[in-house]
């Protein structure tokens, strides 16, 4: 074995002319020059590894940052916000001394390469973000998007992703309570695997990612570090070593949910004993990220001895150790006198824990290897002062053509028979069909606090057994709407999630988002992104629900073809007593069905236009946020005061989709009357926003009408819960058995 000298800081200073493979590591020339300028010399290999990975799009948000600032600038006044954007996850006050943290992240590309492990490690990553805030994770949700349902590659990707989410989340003991599954050819080759998690803690237990207090120890605990996901760093390694080693480092990380479960329990036990000053999980960019984040957020510097990192593969180079994305690892800052106890707890849970460094009173991050100093940087320049791009953006030429292609002009069903056939086709279409084949592979009962889970409008978890305090979460995103109009499309995603939370009786409090887009280097995509962020920030401001954090996933495209702009929005809500929650299912025959809100001829981007005409054009439904707010207030009041027994929000698929779902879930049919002023087609298929359908016990009819009247919410009586058919009077009647077969048969037939 022969080795070139260790590339220490000293060595780098003495050998300014050594060429480093910055381009192969993904840095642009000016970015590399900026690193040299910051350091006043060429970086060492290890420093280059850190800068390149931390300044990547994924870690630095360099293309999106200038736009994301609006979430802070336009943030509404909210008493609920305890920790805002910038930490591992935002934290919201939900009352009674409880705080809730939640976040949605993407794991898109890894899930395309290796669906099972990609999706599994996505769950693992988001859950560690939640633990790192000091919270016990209580639930996960998974918004998913795949290519066309009948495409062969969907059959490869979807079952793997679903099994991965289930395999990891089930083994972790986290109920999976919500999310979505959407099919569209635009996601072929670029499936979106977003993962969200919620955690609960007491206010006083909030922890932050910062390393403070000189002399405090930095402890790495969890799995050993292997060569997972280091891709580019191998290039550096080959610059340093020429001995034999695994020729190609795997880009795929393998998750170990059992290890993560131990990590959760051991971390929470350490929190409970107040042993932790600061904490950070290891996700993307591994130790590079954890050490530079912890050091730059704290008051001092940090010194780390890389030789002390427990390795799974002893041939790893220091650059690879810094970049490794091995899963199930965390980094804690602990006062010296508490280190022994911390290590004891780790040992109790069979978790490997090692002191790898300490907080210093300087302001540098220094990393040593074999006695030589291989990193000496200002951690802020690594973690926070990366490049920021003002990418050019421009409304694409085709946007006008797309919007002019009005879906309202598509041929509509002319006979009752045709109308009926289209209803059946709609409820059986992959996007509108029951997803129980998928969701039954997720545990939704574990922890014994699940009040509502999919297919309910929002997932709901009890957080206090005595008082019944609970939280609800819904995630939504409609790429078709956003493609037609990114500004309003993003607002519609928020409006729907907000509405979904309110429909179950919870008060919407805060937002997390996962913004999935194509390449930021395409001005059209960048315009979509800018518009979506502007729309979302404006709407959050108006609805009073601040964005607490989230994630941006760019480059979701193959060649020139980008995915539909897909902002996925998660809304978190609170309910004082889960006993008052409102389910989707019809509860009792004879209850009256009311449609809340206004129905217009709005078919642009609709499920009907997709299912019946394979069409995308026109404008998405109109956004009226004040109406959304009023509707939410009514739904929450009605739930609290026991005026409604079931409720379902209207969104893709329109009223008929909602009624069919409520009927099938409750095993009770409905008789519907087309209201005056509407034709049956518009009544059934329109996707006007700001609407819900509720079932009102007869004893509450007057009170409910009075409330809606007093507050000025349009309300129309449309029928009654009755029988075993969905009967649209004067048009058709469909037996529940036939609807069930259509609605529940599609997904198993496609995927089995």
């Amino acid at each position: 074995m022969s080795r070139t000298p260790l590339d220490t800081v000293e060595h780098a200073a003495a050998t300014p002319d050594v060429e480093l493979p910055w381009a192969e590591l993904g840095l642009k020339k000016d970015e590399y020059e900026r690193v040299v300028e910051i350091l006043g010399r060429r970086p060492t290999g290890a420093e280059l590894a850190m800068y390149s990975v931390m300044w990547s799009e994924h870690c630095s948000y360099k293309s999106s940052k200038v736009h994301l600032r609006q979430f802070g600038e336009k943030a509404p006044e909210s008493d609920a916000m305890l920790v805002g954007i910038g930490e591992n996850a935002g934290v919201v006050d939900v009352g009674q001394g409880y705080a809730v943290t939640f976040k949605v992240e993407s794991h898109n590309h890894p899930s395309y390469v290796e669906p099972y492990q990609g999706a599994a490690t996505g769950v693992g990553g988001i859950v560690r973000d939640i633990i790192a805030m000091g919270a016990r994770p209580v639930a996960v949700v998974d918004p998913l998007r795949f290519g066309a349902a009948d495409h062969p590659d969907t059959k490869r990707v979807l079952p793997g992703v679903v099994a991965g989410i289930g395999g990891y989340g089930n083994c972790l003991g986290l109920p999976n309570i919500g999310g979505e599954v959407v099919f569209d050819a635009c996601y072929q080759g670029n499936p979106l695997v977003n993962a969200g998690a919620i955690g609960v803690m007491r206010h006083e237990d909030i922890h932050l990612a910062k390393a403070s207090g000189a002399g405090n120890k930095v402890i790495l605990y969890g799995a050993r570090t292997g060569g997972d996901g280091i891709g580019g760093a191998s290039i550096l390694a080959s610059e340093t070593f020429d001995d034999a080693k695994p020729s190609k480092r795997p880009a795929v990380q393998v998750g170990d949910p059992f290890q993560e479960k131990l990590l959760i329990e051991c971390t929470l036990e350490a929190f409970a004993e107040k042993l932790v000053v600061g904490i950070q999980d290891l996700g993307a960019a591994g130790l590079s990220c954890a050490t530079s984040e912890l050091a730059s957020n704290g008051s001092g510097g940090m010194r780390v001895t890389l030789d002390d990192v427990p390795l799974r593969d002893s041939t790893l180079s220091p650059e690879e150790i810094l970049m490794s994305e091995s899963q199930e690892r965390m980094c804690a800052v602990v006062e010296p006198e508490k280190v022994d106890r911390f290590l004891e707890i780790c040992e109790k849970w069979d978790v490997i824990a090692t002191v790898i460094g300490e907080v210093t009173d300087g302001d540098r991050l220094e990393i040593y290897w074999h006695g030589g100093k291989i990193v000496d940087v200002d951690p802020r320049t690594v973690a926070h002062e990366g490049p920021v791009y003002e990418r050019p953006y421009a409304r694409p030429d085709w946007q006008d053509t797309l919007q002019a292609d009005d879906a309202n002009k598509l041929p509509r069903p002319e006979t009752s028979e045709e109308l009926k056939d289209q209803v059946l086709k709609l409820v059986a279409s992959p996007n509108q069909a029951s997803k129980s084949w998928i969701t039954s592979q997720y545990d939704h009962f574990v922890q014994g606090n699940t009040v509502l889970a999919q297919p309910e409008d929002s997932g709901m978890i009890r957080i206090d057994e005595e008082t019944g305090l609970g939280v609800a979460i819904a995630t939504d995103g409609n790429g078709r709407y956003a493609k037609l109009d990114p500004y309003h499309g993003a607002q519609l995603a928020l409006a729907e999630a907000y509405r979904n939370v309110a429909t179950t009786g919870a008060k919407p409090l805060a937002v997390s988002d996962c913004l999935n887009f194509g390449s930021p280097e395409d001005p059209a995509v960048m315009w979509q992104f800018a518009e979506a962020v502007r729309g979302l920030a404006d709407a959050c401001q108006q609805l009073g629900t601040p964005v607490t954090g989230g994630n941006v996933s760019l480059y979701n495209q193959t060649g020139e073809a980008a995915i539909h702009p897909t902002p996925v929005v998660a809304v978190l809500g609170v309910i004082d007593d889960v006993a008052r929650r409102t389910p989707v299912a019809f509860q009792e025959e004879g209850q009256l069905l009311y449609l809340l809100g206004d129905t217009r001829e709005e078919f642009g981007g609709s499920a009907w236009s997709q299912v019946v005409h394979d069409h995308l054009g026109g404008l998405p439904p109109r956004v009226d946020l004040e109406r959304e707010r009023l509707l939410a207030e009514i739904l929450i009041s009605a739930s609290r005061d026991g005026m409604i027994d079931s409720a379902h929000d209207l969104s893709d698929g329109g009223l008929i989709q909602a009624v069919v779902e409520s009927a099938l879930l409750g095993g009770k049919g409905a008789r519907l009357i087309v209201p005056d002023g509407l034709d049956a087609f518009t009544f059934l298929f329109s996707e006007s926003a700001g609407r819900a359908v509720v079932a009102v016990p007869r004893s509450e009819e007057v009170r409910f009408n009075d409330m809606c009247g007093a507050r000025g919410l349009p309300v129309t009586r449309i029928g009654v819960v009755d029988g075993d058919t969905v009967d649209v009077q004067g048009e058709f009647a469909l037996p529940l058995s036939e609807l069930r077969e259509a609605h529940e048969g599609t997904i198993p037939a496609l995927l089995k």
């Binding site: 083994c171 479960k261 969701t439 039954s440 997720y442 014994g448 699940t450």
Partner: protein, 226 residues
């Protein structure tokens, strides 16, 4: 004085806190037991709860079965200590040979989570006296390795001796032989089943039914009246 019922936590146990809650809801006192414990803290009964002990790596329950706590448990169970194994706990009991048979991966090869209909076949075990024989109940089921198998001789013997405690009704969710969802030992003190009664003890939570509560009230009555 109420009964003290131990709940063992193995690394990877998931339903330990839920099971403790169910015991509390029934009116008994839950006692946390740790897999490294060498004694059972004088509890009156033990529940081995669900989860993925040791990740279910190797075989479900295979590694947990060799935990220190299993030594006193095996000894006392043979002497009559009531033991209930739920899901992973059932798998541990079969690996430990306290109950016959074993569990294979579900026949459809997927994890399955559903509200499962069962028939109580034996209402005379320590854990089922608050049911009546033949009673039909709904209890959540959630597992990956739930396919109960045993050789024909064992199955016939179980049937003949009334030791099939629960059977799946309407839908066999995992390919279990003879629709067996749970079995008991000869003495009726050790019972194992795949579905999760601890997730059906409160009207608002989970499926909204309380069909699982009688497991815990049965044992409480037995212990208090003893």
């Amino acid at each position: 004085m109420t009964a003290r019922i131990g709940v063992v936590t193995f690394p990877g146990s998931l339903d330990d806190r839920d099971t403790q809650r169910a015991i509390r809801v029934a009116g008994a006192e839950p006692v946390a037991l740790w897999h490294k414990d060498k004694d059972l803290k004088q509890v009156d009964a033990v529940v081995l709860c669900g989860g993925f002990s040791y990740g279910d790596y190797l075989r479900a329950g295979a590694i947990a079965r060799f935990s220190p706590v299993m030594e006193p448990l095996l000894e006392q169970a043979k002497a009559g200590l009531p033991v209930l194994g739920i899901c992973n706990g059932f798998q541990i009991l079969t690996e430990a040979h306290l109950l016959p048979g074993t569990m294979l991966r579900n026949d459809h090869l997927h994890f399955i989570c559903r509200d499962q209909k069962l028939r109580v076949e034996n209402a005379e075990t320590a854990w089922t006296t608050d049911y009546s024989a033949g009673q039909e109940i709904h209890i959540p089921l959630k597992n990956n390795d739930g396919q109960y198998v045993a050789d024909a001789y064992t199955l016939d013997k179980l049937e003949a001796e009334g030791r099939v405690a629960f059977r799946y009704l309407d839908f066999n969710p995992n390919g279990s032989q003879r629709d067996i969802a749970g079995v008991t030992n000869e003495a009726g003190n050790v019972v194992g089943l795949m579905p999760h009664p601890e997730h059906a003890v409160e009207p608002l939570i989970g499926t909204g039914r309380t069909d699982g509560l009688p497991f815990f009230t049965s044992i409480l009555k037995k212990l208090v009246n003893a």
